[in-house]
Amino acid sequence: MTARRLAMLLLAPLLMAQSAPQLVPDISARRVDIQYSFTGAQLLLFGAILYPGGRVPKRQADIAVVLKGPVQPILVREKQKIAGIWTNAESSRFRSAPGFYAVASSKPIADLVDERTAAIYELGLQNLQLSPGGGAQPDKERRFEAGLLELRHRQGLYAENPNGVEISGGVLYRARIFIPSQVPVGTYTAETFLIDRGKVIAAATKDIEVGKSGFERFVAQTAQRQSFLYGLAAILLPLLLGWAAAELFRRRGA
């Protein structure tokens, strides 16, 4: 029984290779460490397209690469001018907005797939499943969605690069995606899609861990788990530094 299953598992890629191409993706780093000098990171998402029998078709298939950060529930507030002052007025919830989202493709997404397919695979900023909550009116929902996308786009947290994937020899692809320093920590997924004639014919997923490490990790954890000690340290630090400076200057002055 187990031997048979094993044999099937081993054979599966070969059998599948007969019918559909496969993707072998990789990432320049499996783990992004956020440390004191972290100002963002450039990730290289690359890989190979394995065609059945090694025959590269004449018609070049396209590649889209999506890097998505952990999903967080958020509340988006909109400022309005009330009595001459800009203040938060309406708000809208989104239950599943990714903290980071970047898509790179070899052609603009709109030229690759139709809207339905793009929505299924969450290809492109317009097709993110943000799960707006609260049964708001559709036009208000759209306004807040547009506001959220634009804000995060300006912060470098949401990005779209319609020409960001380079395919060489029809079989090797690579894309560069920059993640800024203010990204949320967590498990990111890198999805690669092989698209031909408006259809996704192969897909592969890889995980990347983005996390604080070393001193930064220690500080962030202490602030959360040992709040009192952390607070005490935050009080002692200025007292000590202030006293040290005063002593230093008194000696020098006297």
């Binding site: 400022k79 002052i85 804000l151 203010q182 709040s227 952390y230 007292l239 200057f249």
Partner: protein, 303 residues
């Protein structure tokens, strides 16, 4: 030189933050203000999340006041008895402030309220100080010069139970300084300011304290209340960024020393004029920020 702030979750230019801390430190040593009214808006302007800016600027206020307190203590410029009464009021005030903060945060109005409070407080204090400084310098003639201002405020004098404050040269009810401390405590939590720019004029004009001990005493009170506020932030909002605080402090404590050294050499009236102008500029900037269309109409809050 870029450095990553673990709590703010972003990288900043370390040198810029140190210089900012240094400049604010000079002002704090010079005027006996915590300097938070400059640090907090500047940090927010730089892109630091407001809650982190407020909580971390508080530690800088502590550091800047330590050197100030020591410097003033050596000169005998601290009324400890008065300071303790104000600290007691301040601690209660900071707890009340924390409650108000959370209430405003949940309704999304915290930024607007902070902005309006800044404009109102800084604007009125700035105008008062400017008028006074100009009069003292003789640049502004006042026709009703003959009307002498009473040394004691009549409401303060009406409060029950009087204590003697020898160093301040006062005999008055401890309720008045405790209330002042209470107000400053609320401001420390809410605005990330020490409240020195309110305390100093209030101690001079409302309490009628001897000018010699005003700055030192206000610094003692600011020191204690800002330290308590740091703890409240660490326990509740958990948004004290110790790396950001350290950067601000390195500049701040050294700046405060230079500031304290300068006080003895500069004309006090010119000092007040300068502080009044700085305060009015910050108020103007905040007022513009409230009424001009902001860069970002939308803001994100994590649930």
């Amino acid at each position: 030189m870029d450095i990553y702030l673990p709590i703010a979750g972003m990288s900043v230019n370390a040198l810029l933050i140190v210089v900012l801390g240094g400049l604010v430190g000079v002002l704090s040593g010079l005027f006996g203000v915590g300097g938070g009214f400059l640090t907090t808006p500047l940090l927010i302007f730089y892109g630091i999340p407001p809650s982190v800016a407020v909580a971390s600027a508080t530690t800088q206020i502590t550091g800047a006041s330590v050197s100030g307190v020591l410097a003033h203590m050596r000169r005998g410029g601290v009324d400890l008895r008065m300071g303790l009464v104000m600290i007691a009021g301040g601690l209660v005030g900071s707890l009340a402030g924390a409650g108000i903060f959370r209430l405003l945060q949940s309704t999304g109005q915290i930024d607007t309220v902070i902005g309006i409070l800044y404009v109102l407080l800084l604007g009125s204090i700035g105008v008062l100080m400017l008028r006074d400084a100009l009069k003292a310098l003789g640049w502004l003639k006042t026709p009703e010069q003959a009307v002498a201002r009473p040394r004691h405020n009549k409401w303060v004098a009406a409060l029950p139970g009087r204590w003697r404050f020898y160093a301040s040269g006062l005999y008055l009810s401890p309720i008045a300084p405790a209330l002042l401390g209470f107000g400053a405590g609320i401001l420390t939590v809410l605005l990330g300011v020490g409240g020195g720019f309110i305390l100093v004029p209030a101690m001079i004009y409302i309490l009628g304290m001897a000018a010699r001990v005003v700055v030192g005493t206000s610094l003692v009170m600011i020191l204690a209340v800002s330290a308590a506020t740091t703890m409240i932030h660490a326990l509740t909002t958990q948004s004290v960024d110790i790396v950001l605080a350290a950067l601000l402090l390195v500049g701040g404590v050294i700046g405060a020393q230079y500031g304290a050294m300068m006080t003895t050499r500069l004309k006090p009236d010119l000092l007040r004029l300068t502080l009044a102008i700085i305060i009015l500029l910050v108020a103007l900037r905040m007022a513009l920020g409230l009424t001009y269309r902001p860069d970002e109409i939308f803001s994100i809050e994590y649930l």
